[in-house]
């Protein structure tokens, strides 16, 4: 569960990024976060990952009270979150298998578990035959699937996808969202940030629109 209460963020340069935000996303929900550039979407993600701390307000993510969580322990929170970036952010020197396995290795998972879990997740995103390929040998859509597999492998409670379709062609855009919907149906909360209104209208569901640092709309559409 994600909960923000009276959260405000003002950057050191005086920019009022978020103002008095109140938001609650329940376990198992799928929510789109939409808004124009500079609306405050990225700031919201940074807050949820404890990359920054708010000036005022309280944030709870997957049972972690971020006020009380020191930065040095942020990895504990991040292990409960799967994160998908717009530019995929794969490690180019690792093949698909290692990019996905890396997450489990970093949490000291047993080797046997890694050997079973990683091929399974790579299979889920449809890249079973490309496990030994390096990121630069894959198409944009395939790279984003690897990023999805990496986000999924640790069986997270929450997946945050930041413009995951931004760099993809229309066919891949739909496929990635279908995958995210499938993951959500298995019980994982999904928060997808996008500025592509057509996609939101097509898939429908809970939509939160941020405008000038405030929540301008929060309801179900479609």
């Amino acid at each position: 569960m994600v909960e923000l209460r009276n959260v405000s963020v003002t950057y050191s340069n005086g920019v009022d990024a978020l103002h008095d935000i109140n938001l609650k996303i329940n376990d198992g929900e799928f929510a789109f976060v939409v808004g124009d550039s500079g609306a405050g979407k990225s700031t919201l993600i940074k807050l949820l990952l404890k990359e920054i701390t708010p000036n005022t307000g309280h944030i709870t993510v997957n049972g972690f009270n971020l006020e009380k969580l020191p930065k040095s322990k942020a990895h504990k929170l991040r292990r409960t979150i799967g994160f998908v970036f717009q530019d995929f952010k794969l490690i180019n020197t690792m093949n698909v298998y290692d990019n996905v396995a890396f997450v489990l290795r970093s949490i000291d998972a047993p080797i046997k578990y890694i050997r079973n879990r990683v091929p399974y997740v790579i299979g889920l995103v449809g890249l079973k035959d490309k496990a030994k390929c390096y990121p630069n040998e894959l198409s944009g859509g395939e790279q984003q699937r690897v990023a999805l597999a990496r986000a999924l492998v640790n069986d997270p409670q929450l997946i945050i996808a930041d413009e995951p379709t931004g760099n993809l062609d229309p066919k891949n855009k739909f496929e990635i969202i279908e995958l995210l919907k499938g993951i959500n149906e298995c019980g994982t909360t999904v928060l997808m940030v996008t500025h592509e209104h057509e996609l939101v209208r097509y898939f429908g569901g809970r939509t939160i629109r941020i405008n000038a640092g405030k929540i301008a709309f929060d309801d179900y559409i479609g």
Binding site: K71, S72, R78, F83, I91, S106, I107, I111
Partner: protein
Amino acid sequence: MKLSSMNYLFKQGVRNIWTNRIMSVASFCILLVSLLMIGFTLVFVANINQFISGVENKNEVVIFLEEGIEDADISAMENTLKYTENVESVTFYSKEEALEGMKADMENADELFGYIGDDNPLPDAFRIRIADISQISGTLMEINRMKGIDTIKSPTDFINIMTNLKHFVGIVSLVILCALVLASLVIISNASRASVDIRKREITIMKFVGATNTFIKVPFFVEGMLIGVLAGVIASVCTYFGYVELVKMLSQDTTILSILSVNGFIPVGNIIWKLSLGYIAAGAFISAVGTVLSTRKYLKV
């Protein structure tokens, strides 16, 4: 952390050297040159100090006695000298021994000394060795008070110059070494920063997927340490062969060595082990710590 994880991280460190081979080679070369500069400066200073100490050890004072001095007075003087503070040894050279010695050293002695006949112009003398060369002035003042002394021949001025020179070389070499170490640290830290900079994206990704700082740092530490150890080993080999060749080349011209009256350079066996250990330890430490410190700013994500 589990043993299997440590094993994985160690392998990652080794793999990173190859994956980032251009930066690895650059770091290695910078480290190697820095170590060699410092190492050769140390070897040079050690040899200079040995030369100076060798010259300093020529601490012999010759006391010429007055003409016609009695044997009893000579014995009394010898006893007094033996118990004088800072005098290590006393040897009496009679005028006859001095003449024989001179004849032995000169090629045309018979012709030259034939004119003299039985009349020996050389004086009796004591040769004494000084224990602490820096205290020579006080010792000579005390000896000068004794009766029956004609003149005293001592290398006081030369010894003072050598003592000052040793002091000067010590300070200059310390300053040069400090400057070299400082410059090396700056260059090496820049090299490791550049090496880490190109992987900031990798570090950021690791942070976002929940890796701990230790998990991220260990491969960098292993990578830096291995490069440092390798640079240390190669620096040792270069120093060994470089020093042996240099000594061989300089030893061919014995003029300088004979002027300085020293036996030669420090044998390579006496320095290479200590230097190699220093190279490897310093290389591994500086490189590993430098690399890990360079990751710090990217770990703040």
